[in-house]
Amino acid sequence: DAGVTQSPTHLIKTRGQQVTLRCSPKSGHDTVSWYQQALGQGPQFIFQYYEEEERQRGNFPDRFSGHQFPNYSSELNVNALLLGDSALYLCASSFLSGETQYFGPGTRLLVL
């Protein structure tokens, strides 16, 4: 049973560019959450998707957007990249009614 997977593992972009990160949830899970983890910090909640809709959103600008597909996989898009967007982006999956989120290995984004 595959756990949560994310791609790519690493990514380098320049300021102003756009990036798309991908996540496949753990088998059977229907809810995907995205987190940003800056170096030396704990993860911060970006948003959560369920039934292809954004269900919850943290304190992130509209440059951060997402999508969930019918197979429950998800994408995180970031437009107009800033240097401060450099971070580890974590995806977590769960059942909507479940109390535990399971995390993927993350995508390390570096913005130059």
Binding site: T31, S33, Y35, G40, Q41, G42, P43, Q44, F45, Q48, R55, Q56, G58, L88, L90, A92, S94, L96, E99, T100, Q101, Y102, F103, G104, P105, G106, R108
Partner: protein
């Protein structure tokens, strides 16, 4: 708003000894979940243990146990018989009623051989 505080940025423990990591949180909710996650250098966030607030009994998972003090809003993690593989960042986390997880800043645990 809910907050999670880990006051120990780094800790060290001798292999085979016991170590306790501290965590306090603030919330006005009465029912919630608390977690400890481990993040080794590989970056994968791994669930260590979880506690349901309405359960008074402290959760235990093998060498890992918690001391949950609901009135004091305290949730510490005890690691017994520390092993080299326990070296990692440990994050205390709180699950809000609307399913967001709020993390502390983490405690880096070093295991001394």
């Amino acid at each position: 708003a809910q907050t999670v505080t880990q006051s120990q940025p780094e800790m060290s423990v001798q292999e085979a000894e016991t170590v306790t990591l501290s965590c306090t949180y603030d919330t006005s909710e009465s029912d919630y979940y608390l977690f400890w996650y481990k993040q080794p250098p590989s970056r994968q966030m791994i669930l260590v243990i979880r506690q349901e607030a309405y359960k008074q009994q402290n959760a235990t998972e093998n060498r890992f146990s918690v001391n949950f003090q609901k009135a004091a809003k305290s949730f510490s993690l005890k690691i017994s018989d520390s092993q080299l593989g326990d070296a990692a960042m440990y994050f205390c986390a709180y699950r809000t009623r609307d399913d967001k997880i709020i993390f502390g800043k983490g405690t880096r645990l070093h295991i001394l051989p």
